[in-house]
C-alpha cells in the first residue's frame, strides 16, 4: 500500500487516454483482415481502456491492497478452510511443462501430467476410502452435480425411478440446488435438538422414492455426526445411496474414511483441504470419489494406466455407461498440480497431523470464547475443525448483532468468520481457524472478540457502525440491488464521485 494507506481507485476505464499503450505484439500486415466478409466484421471497436504498462500495474497493485487475504492476515471463515497456501504450489503450476501443455495434446506428449493426475487419483482414493476418482469437476458444487448425476444413472441402470434427495436443514445451499439441477426433489430434514442428524426423521422420509441422502460430515455446525453409521444402514436398506459433502474433510484426514464407513460417493474441495488458493472466489477443483457401485458411471474421459506403465485418456465413447462429460477437456489441471504438490509435501503422516492440529486449534479457540462467558456456544462439547459461536445474548442485551461484531473484527485486522450460516442457529458465527495459524494469532483473535463483546455494552454505537478503519464504510446493498449498476458505461459512474 502507499505510505499513507490503501487508496480507492478509479475504474480502469477512467484512466484511459486515447492512443496510450505499451506495444506488446508486432503490427500485423495492413491487409490481414481484408479477406473477412463485411457482414462478419466488427463495425465499432470495443471501447476497451487505453493505458500503458505503468498505469495498468499501479491500478492493479493499488486495487490489490484493498483486499484482506490469507497472505495479509487471519481469515477464520467457517466452512471455507482458509489455510496457508504454500508458495511452492504456485511455482509448480507455472512450470512450463505443466502450464503450456495444450489440453488436446496427444497422450504421448502429456505423460508427465497424466502420471501426476493418475497418482493424485490414487492418493485421493486412499484418503476417501473409495474405489475410484474423477478429477474433472471444477468446484465443489460441480462435484456435487457430478455425484448426484451418477447416483441418478445408477438407479436408472437398475430400472428404478427414484426422485427424492434428503438433505439436513443445516446443509450448504449448494446441496438442494444441486438436487434441482439433477432433476430431483429436495426433502429437508430438520436437525435433532443436539444439532446432529435426526436419524428418526430421516427414517420416516426414506423409502422407495429416495435416490440419495446428502450429508456433510462433520456437519456445518462443526460436529462429527456420531449417528452416521445408523443412518447409512437405513439409507442402504431402502436401496438409496449416500453422498458425502466433503467440504469439511480437513477435520477427518486419517481419522475417518467416508468410503470405509459406507458412503457411496463424496466430493473433495482442493481449495479447502488441499491448500489450492481461493483466488478471490475461485478457481477451485472438486474431485469426486466413488465406490464400486458408481465407478461405471464416472464422467469421461478417465485417466488410464496401461500395462506398460504409460498413461492415456479414455477415447470418445469408450465407456458407454459414463454420465458423459461434465466440463471441457480433462479438468482444472493447474489447480490439481497444486493439490498434488501439497499432498506430496505432507504425505500420510503429515495429513493426519493437519487434521489433529486443525481440530486442536478450533477447540482451543472455542474454549477461550466459552471461558469469556460473553458469547453463546450452542454446542459446547468437542468440535471438529470449526465451531459455532452466537451473539444471541449480546444482541438481546445490547442490540449489537453478529453482523456488527463481524464488521468490528475488520477494524482489528481480522477477517470475519462466516456469519448467519448455518441458517439453523440464531446470530451464528462459524469460526474455522485452520491448522496453519499460531497460538499467538488464535489468542489475539479471541482477545479481539472479547474486547468487541465488552464494547457492545460500553459503546454499542461504535460497534454498530463498524468498520471504521477499512477502505470503505458499510455499503448501500439495498440500493445496489434495486438499481443495479453492473457495468461501466461512460455515464454510469458520474452519479458517484470518482476516487482521486
Amino acid at each position: 500500500m502507499s505510505a499513507s494507506g490503501p487508496r480507492l481507485q478509479p475504474t480502469i476505464f477512467e484512466l484511459s487516454k486515447p492512443g496510450r499503450h505499451s506495444d506488446k505484439v508486432p503490427h500485423p500486415p495492413k491487409d490481414a483482415l481484408n479477406r473477412l466478409p463485411a457482414e462478419h466484421r466488427r463495425e465499432h471497436a470495443a471501447a476497451l481502456p487505453e493505458v500503458n504498462e505503468p498505469d495498468a500495474v499501479r491500478h492493479y497493485v493499488n486495487l490489490s491492497q484493498l483486499n484482506h487475504a490469507v497472505d495479509t492476515g487471519f481469515y477464520p471463515l467457517g466452512s471455507c478452510t482458509m489455510k496457508w497456501n504454500p508458495k511452492v504450489n504456485e511455482w509448480a503450476a507455472r512450470l512450463p511443462g505443466f502450464a503450456q501443455l495444450h489440453p488436446m495434446a496427444p497422450d504421448a506428449v502429456a505423460q508427465g501430467t497424466l502420471q501426476l493426475l493418475w497418482e493424485l487419483e490414487q492418493i485421493l482414493i486412499e484418503i476417501s476410502g473409495m474405489q475410484a476418482v474423477t478429477l474433472q469437476p471444477a468446484a465443489g458444487a460441480h462435484g456435487e452435480l457430478t455425484g448426484i448425476l451418477m447416483i441418478r444413472e445408477y438407479h436408472r441402470s437398475r430400472g428404478e425411478d427414484r426422485t427424492d434427495v434428503l438433505v439436513p436443514d443445516s446443509a450448504h445451499g449448494t446441496n438442494p440446488a444441486t438436487a434441482t439441477m439433477a432433476g430431483l426433489k429436495t426433502i429437508t430434514i430438520k436437525a435433532a435438538t443436539d444439532g446432529g442428524l435426526d436419524v428418526e426423521g430421516f427414517r420416516a422420509a426414506l423409502g422407495p422414492k429416495t435416490a440419495a441422502v446428502m450429508i456433510t460430515n462433520p456437519s456445518t455446525l462443526g460436529l462429527f455426526e456420531s449417528r452416521i453409521g445408523e443412518l447409512l444402514e437405513a439409507v442402504h436398506e431402502v436401496g438409496a445411496l449416500a453422498y458425502m459433502d466433503g467440504a469439511n474433510l480437513n477435520a477427518i484426514l486419517g481419522r475417518f474414511k467416508p468410503g470405509e464407513a459406507g458412503f457411496d460417493v463424496m466430493h473433495i474441495n482442493t481449495h479447502k483441504t488441499f491448500s489450492t488458493p481461493h483466488g478471490g472466489g475461485g478457481p477451485g477443483a472438486g474431485p469426486v470419489a466413488v465406490n464400486a457401485k458408481l465407478e461405471p458411471f464416472l464422467p469421461s474421459p478417465r485417466v488410464l494406466r496401461e500395462p506398460d506403465a504409460t498413461f492415456r485418456l479414455e477415447r470418445v465413447g469408450e465407456r458407454p455407461a459414463s454420465i458423459g462429460r461434465i466440463r471441457s477437456f480433462v479438468g482444472s489441471t493447474g489447480v490439481l498440480v497444486r493439490a498434488y504438490a501439497y499432498l506430496r509435501t505432507h504425505g500420510g503422516s503429515g495429513l493426519a497431523e493437519i487434521t489433529d492440529d486443525a481440530v486442536l486449534a478450533a477447540n482451543y479457540l472455542k474454549d477461550r470464547l466459552a471461558d469469556s462467558g460473553l458469547f453463546d456456544i450452542p454446542f459446547p462439547g468437542v468440535c471438529k475443525h470449526e465451531f459455532i459461536a452466537s451473539a444471541s445474548t449480546i444482541k438481546k442485551t445490547t442490540g449489537v448483532r453478529t453482523l456488527d461484531i463481524a464488521k468490528r473484527l475488520l477494524d482489528h485486522g481480522f477477517h470475519a468468520p462466516t456469519v448467519y450460516f448455518p441458517l439453523t442457529v440464531d446470530e451464528a458465527m462459524l469460526i474455522e481457524p485452520t491448522e496453519t495459524e499460531s497460538i499467538e494469532t488464535l489468542d489475539a483473535f479471541a482477545d479481539a472478540l472479547v474486547e468487541i463483546a465488552r464494547e457492545a455494552t460500553s459503546d454499542p454505537e461504535t460497534v454498530k457502525t463498524a468498520p471504521h478503519s477499512a477502505p470503505v464504510k458499510r455499503l448501500d446493498e439495498a440500493g445496489a440491488a434495486r438499481n443495479p449498476n453492473l457495468r461501466w458505461r461512460a455515464e454510469a459512474g458520474e452519479w458517484t464521485p470518482c476516487p482521486d
Binding site: 480507492l8 462478419h40 484493498l66 511452492v88 503450456q100 477427518i252 500420510g348
Partner: protein, 450 residues
C-alpha cells in the same frame, strides 16, 4: 494448547467418532521436503513436450502474455483472498470483477456479465438452461458446429434437468459445407407442436468457420426462442459482437485472453446477457454502489438468485467460480489495449492465411470454402498416421478431427489447424515441408504395410 483443554492426547478430540467408524491409517508416502518435491515436480513437467511447433487450437488457444500479467497475479492479496463476503475489506476483488464485467460487456456488446463460470462448456450449458427458465419451454437446439466437448456437457446437464436437447446438423458439402444447416434449423423451429426455448450457435465454429449468426438469431426469434452465441473473445476484436446480431446470451471460453493452456484449466467461462434476462443469469454479479458516506464502492448484488439464499429454487448450484481467471483476463486486456487486441486477432488471421497458402502449395487443401478467421480444417489422407508421424518430427499438426468428433463422416481424415501470433512464419514454412514429406512417405506401399 492440549494442556489448556485439559487433555492428555489429541485422540480425546476424536472420541466422538464411533470406534467402528474410525479409519485405517493413511497408506501414503512419507512427507517430502520442498527441495525433493521440487525435483519430483520438475521431473514430471519435463516428461511433457511443450517445445513442439504447434498448430493446435480446438477450443484452447496460445497467446502472448506480457510478464506484467503473471506478476500481478502472483500478488497474494489477489490469489489468497476468497469470495468478497466482507465487501469493506474486499474492494480490490470486487472492483476487479466489476471491471471484468464491464470489459466483457464491451467486447460482447451485451449488458450484463456474470462474475465467471467454470469454463466455456459449463457457461454454454448454463446459458442454454437460462433460455428454458426465461421462456418456460424445455427444448434447446444446438448446432453440431459447436465444440464437441460443449455439446457433450450440454447433453449431461440437459439429461440431468430432464430437458430436451436436439442437435442441428452441419451442411455436408457445397459452398456452405461445415456451416449450421439453416434449412434444417428453420424446419425444427417451425414445428409449433415442439416450441423451442433457445438456439445455440458458435462464432467462429469448432471448424473455424464464420457462421451466419444474424440469420440464426432471426430464425430463433421468429420461433419465439432465445439466441445463444458461443464466442471466442479474442475474435471479438474484429468480428461482429453478439450484441450487434441480436444475441440474447453470449457464452464462451475466456482462456484465450492470455490464460495459459494448462492441460485444460483452470479456465474462464463467460456468460453475458441482455438486461431483460438479468434475473435469469446464474452466478455472482458485482455492482457499483456507495458506502454510507457516499464513497463509490462495489458489492455482490442480486444475491437472492443464488443457491446460498434460494437453495433448491436457485437458478444454479454454482458457488466457487473463476474470479482469479477473470482478473487474469482483465489484466491481459488492459496490457494489450484495444489496439493490441486487434493486432493479436489480425496477426492470427494473417498467419493462418500463410498456413493455408503454404499447405495449398503442396496439395493439402481446406475441407470447407467458407470464411474463417484463424482456424480451418484440411483434408489429409490417413490423417491420424500423418499426425503421429509429424509429432516425431517436432510438429503438433493440430487436431485429428475424427478423434474428437468420430460421428461426423464428412470430416473423416481431416486435421483442424490453428495459428495465432505465437506461430512464426518460419514454423509455417517448416510445417508445410514436413507434412509434404510425411504424406509422401506414408503414400509408399512399404510404409502403409508397416
Amino acid at each position: 494448547m492440549l494442556e489448556s483443554l485439559g487433555m492428555a492426547s489429541v485422540d480425546e478430540l476424536f472420541a466422538d467418532i464411533p470406534p467402528a467408524l474410525r479409519s485405517s491409517p493413511l497408506k501414503l508416502d512419507p512427507p517430502e521436503p520442498e527441495q525433493v518435491l521440487m525435483g519430483r515436480l520438475a521431473g514430471l513437467a519435463a516428461r511433457n513436450r511443450v517445445d513442439l511447433a504447434s498448430f493446435l487450437g480446438a477450443g484452447a488457444y496460445r497467446h502472448f502474455s506480457p510478464p506484467l500479467v503473471d506478476q500481478i497475479l502472483l500478488r497474494g492479496e489477489w490469489y489468497t483472498a476468497y469470495t468478497p463476503y466482507q465487501p469493506e475489506v474486499s474492494q480490490g476483488t470486487l472492483q476487479s470483477i466489476y471491471e471484468y464485467e464491464s470489459l466483457i460487456a464491451e467486447l460482447t456488446g451485451m449488458d450484463v456479465v456474470s462474475a465467471s463460470h467454470y469454463d466455456g462448456a459449463a457457461a454454454t450449458a448454463e446459458a442454454a438452461l437460462m433460455t428454458c427458465r426465461a421462456t418456460g419451454r424445455d427444448r434447446v437446439l444446438v448446432s453440431r458446429s459447436v465444440h464437441p466437448h460443449y455439446r457433450a456437457v450440454l447433453e449431461t446437464y440437459f439429461d440431468g434437468a430432464g430437458l430436451d436437447l436436439e442437435q442441428i446438423p452441419i451442411v455436408a458439402d457445397g459452398p456452405e459445407a461445415g456451416l449450421t444447416d439453416l434449412a434444417e434449423l428453420e424446419r425444427r423451429l417451425a414445428d409449433a407442436s415442439q416450441p423451442v426455448a433457445g438456439l445455440v450457435m458458435p462464432q467462429p465454429s469448432f471448424y473455424g468457420l464464420l457462421e451466419p449468426m444474424a440469420e440464426g438469431g432471426r430464425l430463433a426469434h421468429a420461433g419465439g426462442a432465445l439466441f445463444v452465441a458461443v464466442v471466442e473473445p479474442v475474435s471479438l476484436a474484429v468480428l461482429a459482437p453478439p450484441g450487434a446480431y441480436g444475441a440474447d446470451i453470449a457464452a464462451g471460453e475466456g482462456q484465450s485472453l492470455g490464460i495459459p493452456p494448462q492441460y485444460g484449466g483452470p479456465y474462464l467461462g463467460i456468460v453475458a446477457c441482455t438486461d431483460a434476462l438479468v434475473r435469469q443469469i446464474p452466478g455472482r454479479l458485482v455492482g457499483m454502489t456507495t458506502d454510507v458516506e457516499g464513497r463509490r464502492a462495489y458489492v455482490m448484488t442480486l444475491q437472492a438468485r443464488e443457491q446460498h439464499i434460494r437453495r433448491e429454487k436457485a437458478a444454479s448450484n454454482i458457488c466457487t467460480n473463476q474470479t482469479l481467471l477473470a482478473l487474469a483476463a482483465s489484466l491481459w486486456l488492459a496490457a494489450m489495449g484495444p489496439h493490441g487486441l486487434r493486432d493479436v486477432a489480425a496477426l492470427g488471421a494473417a498467419r493462418a492465411k500463410e498456413l493455408e497458402d503454404a499447405l495449398a502449395a503442396i496439395g493439402v487443401t481446406r475441407v470447407h470454402s467458407g470464411a474463417y478467421l484463424n482456424e480451418f480444417a484440411v483434408r489429409v489422407p490417413n490423417a491420424a498416421a500423418v499426425h503421429r508421424e509429424l509429432l516425431g518430427r517436432g510438429v503438433l499438426a493440430g487436431l485429428v478431427v475424427a478423434d474428437a468428433v468420430p460421428d461426423e463422416p464428412s470430416l473423416a481424415d481431416t486435421l483442424l489447424l490453428c495459428a495465432t501470433e505465437v506461430n512464426t512464419s518460419e514454423e509455417v514454412v517448416a510445417f508445410a515441408r514436413e507434412i509434404a514429406g510425411v504424406i509422401a512417405t506414408l503414400a509408399t506401399p512399404e510404409a502403409t504395410a508397416a
